[in-house]
C-alpha cells in the first residue's frame, strides 16, 4: 500500500532511519516524513520503542555489573558467534 504514497517512507526505510532519528541527526524533512509514518504505523511505533528501551538498558550496564560467570558466558557466546561467521 505504501508504494502508492508519494514521499512517504516504507517500514523498511523507517528501520534504516531509526538510529539517526533517535540521535537527532535526521534533517527536518526526513524527520517529518518519519513521524508522519509513525502516526499511522503501529509496527514502527513498537519497533522504535524497542530500540529506545534497548538503548536505555544497554546504556546503564557496565562491565563491572556482570558476575564472572555471566562474563564468561558472554565471551563464549561471542566466540561461538564469531566462529560461525
Amino acid at each position: 500500500m505504501s508504494s502508492r504514497v508519494p514521499d512517504q517512507p516504507t517500514c523498511r526505510e523507517i528501520v534504516e532511519l531509526v538510529t539517526d532519528y533517535l540521535e537527532g541527526r535526521l534533517p527536518i524533512e526526513a524527520r517529518t516524513r518519519l513521524e508522519q509514518h509513525l502516526v499511522y504505523c503501529d509496527w514502527c511505533r513498537v519497533y522504535l520503542e524497542q530500540i529506545r528501551q534497548t538503548i536505555r538498558v544497554a546504556g546503564s550496564v557496565s562491565e563491572e555489573s556482570f558476575g564472572s560467570q555471566t562474563r564468561e558466558d558472554l565471551v563464549r557466546l561471542f566466540r561461538d558467534w564469531k566462529g560461525k561467521k
Partner: protein, 163 residues
C-alpha cells in the same frame, strides 16, 4: 497565534513523551536547539497529517516557522482540549469517502481498502482513505488532496478556527 496540537492520552507529546502542563503555563523549546527542535503545532490545514488521541488548542509565541504540514514556534502553551473530537465519527467519514472511491473505480485494490478501513483507528483511517484516493484518481497529488479534505471535515465537525 492560536493553532492546534495533537497529543497522546494525558496531554503527552507522541514522539518525545513530553507531558504538557494543562494549567496554561508556557513551555519553551531549548535555547540554541537545532532546526526542527522547536514546538510543533498545526494550522487547520495540517491537522489530518498528525491525528492523535487528544486535540488541543494552543497559543504560540515568537516567530513562527511555516512548513508544508506543520508550524514551529519557540514557545507555546495548551489552552484547552477540543472535546468535540470524536475518532469514531472521523473514521466513519473516511469509510464513506473510501466507499465512494471504490464506487468510482471498482477495482479489487479499492475493495481491499474498503474492507481494511472498517477495522482501523482514526490515524490509520486517514492514511488508508488517502491511499484509496490515489488508487481511484491515479494521481499522486490525490494523497495530499484527500488529507486536505479531511482537514476541512475536521474544521467543520470540530468547529475549529485559527486566530
Amino acid at each position: 497565534m492560536i493553532a492546534f496540537k495533537w497529543l497522546s492520552r494525558g496531554a503527552i507529546a507522541p514522539f518525545t513523551g513530553f507531558r504538557w502542563p494543562a494549567d496554561r503555563s508556557w513551555v519553551s523549546a531549548p535555547q540554541g536547539a537545532p532546526e526542527g527542535s522547536g514546538i510543533h503545532a498545526c494550522r487547520v490545514e495540517h491537522l489530518a497529517w498528525w491525528i492523535g488521541e487528544e486535540l488541543w488548542r494552543v497559543e504560540l509565541d515568537g516567530p513562527i516557522l511555516e512548513r508544508e504540514t506543520q508550524i514551529e514556534a519557540s514557545r507555546a502553551r495548551l489552552l484547552d482540549q477540543v472535546t468535540l473530537w470524536d475518532p469514531a465519527a472521523f473514521v466513519r467519514a473516511c469509510v464513506a469517502r473510501t466507499e465512494a472511491f471504490a464506487a468510482e473505480a471498482p477495482t479489487a485494490e479499492l475493495a481491499d481498502y474498503v474492507a481494511l478501513i472498517k477495522t482501523v483507528d482514526a490515524p490509520t483511517a486517514s492514511f488508508v482513505a488517502s491511499v484509496a484516493a490515489v488508487a481511484a484518481r491515479g494521481t499522486k497529488q490525490a494523497f495530499a488532496e484527500e488529507r486536505a479534505w479531511q482537514a476541512r471535515w475536521l474544521a467543520r465537525a470540530l468547529d475549529l478556527r485559527e486566530e
